[in-house]
């Protein structure tokens, strides 16, 4: 499984754009990049997933360079309610691939300040 590295914590002011970068140097050809968000006392919830280039949804954007060795989660104009832990996961988890389910690291704790 591809190991991921992301910052332990980040601070941002309300209204700013926040970019959280995840490094995954040994990503495999079939691996996808998935981000989850976890609020205190809740289970993680899916934010976005991508394979290459750029993916955008109503919550965030995911930028993946051509070599796919890193990815950046972009949160536009954050608010206090975006304070959470953000996890980057890399893998394909296909049942026939022999891989175990995706592994969560410690994530990035984002604190949004008023």
């Amino acid at each position: 499984l591809a190991k991921t590295t992301q910052p332990i914590s980040m601070d941002s002011y309300e209204g700013q754009e926040v970019n959280i970068t995840c490094s995954h140097n040994n990503i495999a050809t079939n691996d996808y990049i998935t981000w989850y968000q976890q609020f205190p006392s809740q289970g993680p919830r899916f934010i976005i997933q991508g394979y290459k280039t750029k993916v955008t949804n109503e919550v965030a954007s995911l930028f993946i360079p051509a070599d796919r060795k890193s990815s950046t989660l972009s949160l536009p104009r954050v608010s206090l309610s975006d304070t959470a832990v953000y996890y980057c996961l890399v893998g394909d988890q296909a049942v026939d691939s022999g891989n175990t389910p995706l592994v969560f690291g410690k994530g990035t704790r984002l604190s949004v300040i008023a």
């Binding site: 006392s41 289970g43 993680p44 893998g91 988890q93 296909a94 049942v95 691939s97 995706l102 969560f104």
Partner: protein, 117 residues
């Protein structure tokens, strides 16, 4: 749809007692998982199941047993609870995507907070 429901939400045990955490999902997902999360830590996979009647070990399986007798339910058992098993337990489920169409997306329950004295 209720999604993923975990019971109980809170439980206090004494060392050596046994208990079972129940996870139920109504999304007809093939895969189900049990994670534990300790303060300031990420989630660590305990056991998982790729279908009814099958289970597999995750990162930290020791001290736990699981069963998947019905597709919608995944039970996590502690036969002899220890203080080191004090944690928040999360259940999750996902459907199995075809290879090449994306990694599985997990839907999590609200968690079960267990304290072992």
């Amino acid at each position: 749809n209720a999604g993923v429901t975990q019971t109980p939400k809170f439980r206090v045990l004494k060392t050596g007692q046994s208990m079972t955490l129940l996870c139920a999902q109504d999304m007809n997902h093939e895969y189900m998982y049990w994670y534990r999360q300790d303060p300031g830590m990420g989630l660590r996979l305990i056991h998982y199941s790729v279908g009814e009647g099958t289970t597999a070990k995750g990162e930290v399986p020791d001290g736990y047993n699981v069963s998947r007798l019905k597709k919608q339910n995944f039970l996590l058992g502690l036969e002899s609870a220890a203080p080191s098993q004090t944690s928040v337990y999360f259940c999750a489920s996902s459907y199995q995507r075809d290879r090449g169409s994306g990694a599985n997306v997990l839907t999590f329950g609200a968690g079960s907070r267990l304290t072992v004295l």
